[in-house]
Amino acid sequence: MEVWLRTWAILWKDILIEVRTKGTFNAMAFFAALILFIFSFAIGPDFDLLRRIAAGLLWVGITFTGLLALARTYHSEELAGGLEALLLYPGEPRAIFLGKLVGNLAVLLLVEVILYPVAAVLFHMDLTGKILPVAGIAFLGTLGFSVIGTFYAALTLHLRAREVMLPLLVLPLLVPVLLGAVSATAALVDPAAAGGVAGWVRLLIAFDVLYFVVCTWTFPVLLER
């Protein structure tokens, strides 16, 4: 069980740093909302169109904001010397991955708590009575995003041009996850959308599991020496 203890320790350390330094959470939430504002303003008053593409725009916002969050995943360690500093943490390196993963997941979910109501207002999405299933899909999508993102953030940490490399590596792998999240949300909000919700949720779960296992397995390789 020491893995869980270490996971918690790393998570708690990051939370403390975030709270004490009044981190970037506010700015990130504002950025995400700003993206939605710009879209809804640029597209104009075509309500039908807005409603149909709402889920897609929402996830564009989440993706961009998420990429910002991911780039900062190992920020505190970086200031102390990069991945080498991470290696100083004793015990199972997978705990580092899990701790950082939960951290990213929590930050993104908090952003989404703000983002979904904003999107509902701007894009005329009717969420009444569907809040739980929509939240479930948001969780599954964000989980897949965070797993791949936390993993590749560690990989790109010491790469040249990493600001470009992180999205370049992450986005292709995220296609199935984003496809599932967008389509499932759209199917819930707009009953006319293609396919049932169940199939998309299955796609999401399958890729979440696949990515989680492969990334947790191979993460220690990234932290060697």
Partner: protein, 161 residues
Amino acid sequence: MSEHKGRRSGKKKLWAGLGLVAVVAALAMLIGGGLKDNLVYFLTPTELEARGASVQGEAVRLGGQVKPGSVHWNADHHDLRFVVTDGKTQIPVHSTGSPPSMFQEGIGVVVEGKFDSNGTFQSDNLMVKHSNEYHPPTKGESPRETFKTLMPGNGTSGSKD
């Protein structure tokens, strides 16, 4: 020490086994689980009709067979009308511009567009879906050449060969 290590590697094996099971389950879910209804590139006429009025004015892809005998091609106006069927439901399609050279009666097509108010499917993009069968022309038959059929002066359709 060795005992401790043995217990640890046993635990590691347990986790690795669990991971493997999870991966296999995920892959099985992708292959077997009802994704067939979701990851569809096009809708069949029956499915499209089942959607009813909800797809009015919404861009969709419709896929099916060109019903034999339903093709009307106006070469002067590049105006093409035909019926797409899946054996059960039939949907009239209207398309402008030259169709792909493979277009003929009985062949599979995918059209992108939307329903107009008359219930005719207005196609913006007409694509031909060909089968995975390949064979040389039989004796006396000449192979089709691209852009020969359905071009001005060629009458209604290229179904005769």
